[in-house]
Amino acid sequence: MLTESCLLVQIDLTSRTSRPFGPLRGDAADAARSLIASARLAWAIEGNWAEPFFLLVYLIIRPLAFLGLFIAVLSIGGALNPASIGFVVVGQAVFQIVGAAMQGPTHALLDDRERYRTIRYIFATPSSLLPVSIGRALVKALIAGISAVIVIGVGALIGMPMRVGGPDLPLLLVVMTLGLTSIIGLGVALGAVCVQLRNDAWSYPQAVAGSVFLLCGAIFPLDTLPESLQFLGAALPITWWIEGVRRALLGTASPGLLGELPTPLLLLVLAVGTVLITLAAPRLFRIGIDRAREKGYLDRSTAS
């Protein structure tokens, strides 16, 4: 009896670590439930719905302040043309979603580990932490998406030229789906790294987001960067995502090399990048969680 119990426990432990692609078959329902529960929690926590002032700050004031800042700096170089405004507006709007979705899984893990101290209890359940992290990231991205729509709306008011005939909705849907998937994958991988850290874990998502912002052509064409950095930027699916959204909304491609590539090629590159990340991210996540567990960092806070 004792041997059998130990064997069952061992199988369970092994199965947790030997499923590289996350939950399979009968676990899919569990994963979906975890994801939905996590998403509902994130909606309540992240939305500031009970505090109208702070809702205003995060959905409107801060994003528009960012936009204002970039537009003001843009105007230093000479009179603003609609194309430049459109370039910056779309880049800034999409990057809000990038930032939220990329930092989402890390913040979910660190919040649960350090602020709410619930990670050990979630980990002890049959649920995987992966759908929990993804659920939080999805809601953060959705809330950021609301803000992105507001930014684009303001952009349209200040002279951003929209695509003749309205946005290319099929293209927009495809790039948004691919882009969101890739960025959540990146976020999951980043979360796996951060949870293995005890000190400075909170700094990494911001540093990565800041670096990505610099490299992805959000507010200036990729060609502005030194060549070595251009190569890095081109390797990021986010760069292609933002370009795809620009084409869908503005109807024009960006200046520079990126803009010269045809849309089907852009979609192909984005799709390949997304697939690669989607395949790698869950595996990286599991490795990260297992390593954090080995180090005893799964329930240790940064301060302890």
Binding site: N48, E51, F54, V57, Y58, I61, R62, A65, F66, G68, L69, F70, A72, V73, L74, S75, I76, G77, G78, S84, N199, D200, S203, Y204, Q206, A207, G210, S211, F213, L214, I219, F220, P221, T224, L225
Partner: protein
């Protein structure tokens, strides 16, 4: 302990001990300032995270603005101004999170209880935090300016170094005084203080004319230069360090220096009131000074 062993003149002795001369009180105040500045100057550098918060993040932001300017073919003088602005931003970020927001952390960690019950006074603590923060940030700002200038080949033309130094010191002093004023707001806000900090970050970068001159904001810029130390400090520093950009300034340097001086005095007085409010309200309602049990 028997009553017989207690000296008969104990109360008089104790009362005499509590009589501190003016020189004792001044010395004590200076010691307290130095004592509180110590963790800021020496302790803060012991964890590598300062590299992220105080160097990496500002540098990433700086690079984004520099490339944005270059993509627009802006005058290289603006690159120099952007580097200076990034350095100034480190002070502002420190003011938000390590002055205004710091008292909340002190309360939650239990330090506030020890400060209140010690004869030190919140004013000395705040001044120590400001001095320590400013010294610590000055080092980091120097690295940002040096690194950014080397990276992007920035050039400056400083004709009046003393005036530039005075502008920076007044600007930093006014910012930290404002930070102490905001400490009361942060304490009263409770958990919402994090959101307040975010509100004071990017929107203030815009209003403060850090990366784009405050003149471009029109009437809002006039308003900003009157209440936000960042605005006159950034505008004056730009004129003094990159004179080619003087035409973009809202007001001449002497006027902006005057505004900074007035701000420093006004915010210092208000910060005194803010600290008095914190102690008075905290002792009255029992919530502000001690973390929730």
């Amino acid at each position: 302990m028997s009553a017989a062993s207690v000296p008969k003149d104990l109360h008089s002795r104790i009362y005499a001990e509590t009589e501190w001369s003016l020189s004792h009180r001044l010395r004590h105040a200076a010691q307290s300032v130095v004592g509180r500045a110590y963790p800021r100057i020496f302790g803060m550098s012991r964890e590598p995270s300062w590299l992220f918060f105080d160097l990496v993040f500002p540098t990433l932001g700086m690079c984004s603005f520099v490339f944005l300017l270059r993509s627009r073919g802006a005058d290289e003088a603006w690159i120099s101004a952007t580097i200076l602005a990034s350095a100034l931003l480190t002070f502002w970020t420190s003011v938000i999170w390590m002055m205004a927001g710091q008292f909340r952390w002190e309360r939650d960690s239990g330090n506030m209880t020890l400060y209140i019950t010690a004869p030190v006074g919140l004013g000395s603590i705040a001044l120590g935090m400001a001095v320590g923060g400013a010294v610590g940030m000055a080092f980091r700002a120097g690295i940002i300016i040096l690194g950014g200038s080397l990276l992007f080949g920035a050039q400056y033309e400083i004709r009046e170094p003393l005036l530039l130094a005075l502008t920076m010191m007044l600007g930093i002093a006014a910012m930290y005084a404002l930070g102490v004023c905001l400490a009361a707001v942060f304490l009263v806000s409770g958990r919402e203080a994090d959101h307040l900090g975010d509100l004071l970050n990017e929107p203030m970068q815009l209003l403060g004319g850090l990366f784009a001159p405050v003149r471009s904001l029109g009437i809002v810029g006039l308003f900003a230069i009157g209440i936000l130390p960042l605005a006159p400090a950034a505008d004056a520093m730009r004129q003094l360090a990159v004179p080619q950009l003087a035409a973009s300034a809202l007001l001449p340097v002497p006027a902006e220096l005057g505004i900074l001086a007035v701000m420093f005095v006004v915010f210092s007085l208000l910060s005194h009131a803010s600290l008095a409010f914190i102690e008075r309200r905290g002792r009255a309602d029992g919530k502000l000074l001690t973390r929730a049990d």
